[in-house]
């Protein structure tokens, strides 16, 4: 399945892009997604286990992904 993952703030700067389309096996988890992200150019600047949101909710490494999910990598937040 194809999953679009969004990048923000320092991660978007590091990767030089705001999103990427990744091809993952059916039943893939957030862990699989992060492995795929780590192959992108510039990904060495990202931490080993960045926070991930799936459908606007914080997810864990084991969270399963489904086609159409809204996925985003979340840099350390600094609002307020």
């Amino acid at each position: 399945m194809l999953i679009t993952v969004r990048f923000f703030a320092s991660y978007a700067d590091a990767l030089g892009r705001k999103d990427a389309q990744l091809s993952l096996g059916d039943g893939a988890s957030v862990r699989d997604l992060l492995k795929s992200v780590s192959d992108l150019p510039g990904a060495s600047a990202l931490p080993a286990n960045p926070l991930v949101a799936v459908n606007q909710v914080y997810a864990v490494a084991a969270t399963r992904l489904n086609a159409g999910d809204e996925v985003a990598l979340i840099p350390p937040v600094a609002g307020g």
């Binding site: 969004r6 923000f8 703030a9 320092s10 700067d13 949101a53 606007q56 914080y58 985003a72 979340i74 840099p75 350390p76 937040v77 600094a78 609002g79 307020g80």
Partner: protein
């Protein structure tokens, strides 16, 4: 309860009016503004950005939690994004309740949790021309 990401100047008076009610005698407000100095560096402006839809969702979740923990409290929060100069308000939260303790408790919970959980970022622009993303996890680790 209402939480919004906005791109205009925050109007604290409007937030106070929004939570006001004749039965609620205690209103508390928190306003965060851009500081001229952070971690010893002179700041000229901050560029705030957000994962807007999720930030509004997460801010709303925080306000709902604060209202659940403090029955009868009403909260409203706005976070501004874009370029903000020193002294401009980036966040404003208003809380109202019949009694002051609940209003103040809810207000503190809201600002603490929104700062921890809302996907909002800031890039500080310094007087020396440099700039950097702020990472509170690194500041805390020092």
């Amino acid at each position: 309860m209402r939480a919004s990401i906005v791109t205009h100047a925050l109007d604290t008076d409007a937030l106070l009016r929004e939570v006001a009610d004749a039965r609620r005698g205690a209103t508390a407000l928190f306003v965060g503004t851009v500081r001229s100095v952070n971690e010893g560096r002179e700041v000229t402006a901050i560029e705030y950005s957000a994962y807007e839809s999720m930030a509004e969702r997460e801010m709303s979740a925080v306000l709902a939690e604060a209202e659940a923990m403090n029955e009868g409290v009403v909260l409203v929060a706005e976070h501004r994004i874009g370029r903000l100069e020193v002294g401009e308000a980036s966040i404003a939260i208003a809380a109202a309740h019949e009694h002051r303790g609940r209003a103040l408790d809810a207000l503190r919970y809201a600002i603490d949790e929104i700062k921890k959980r809302a996907p909002i970022w800031k890039r500080e622009l310094y007087a020396d021309g440099s700039e950097s993303w702020v990472d509170p996890t690194q500041v805390a680790a020092r």
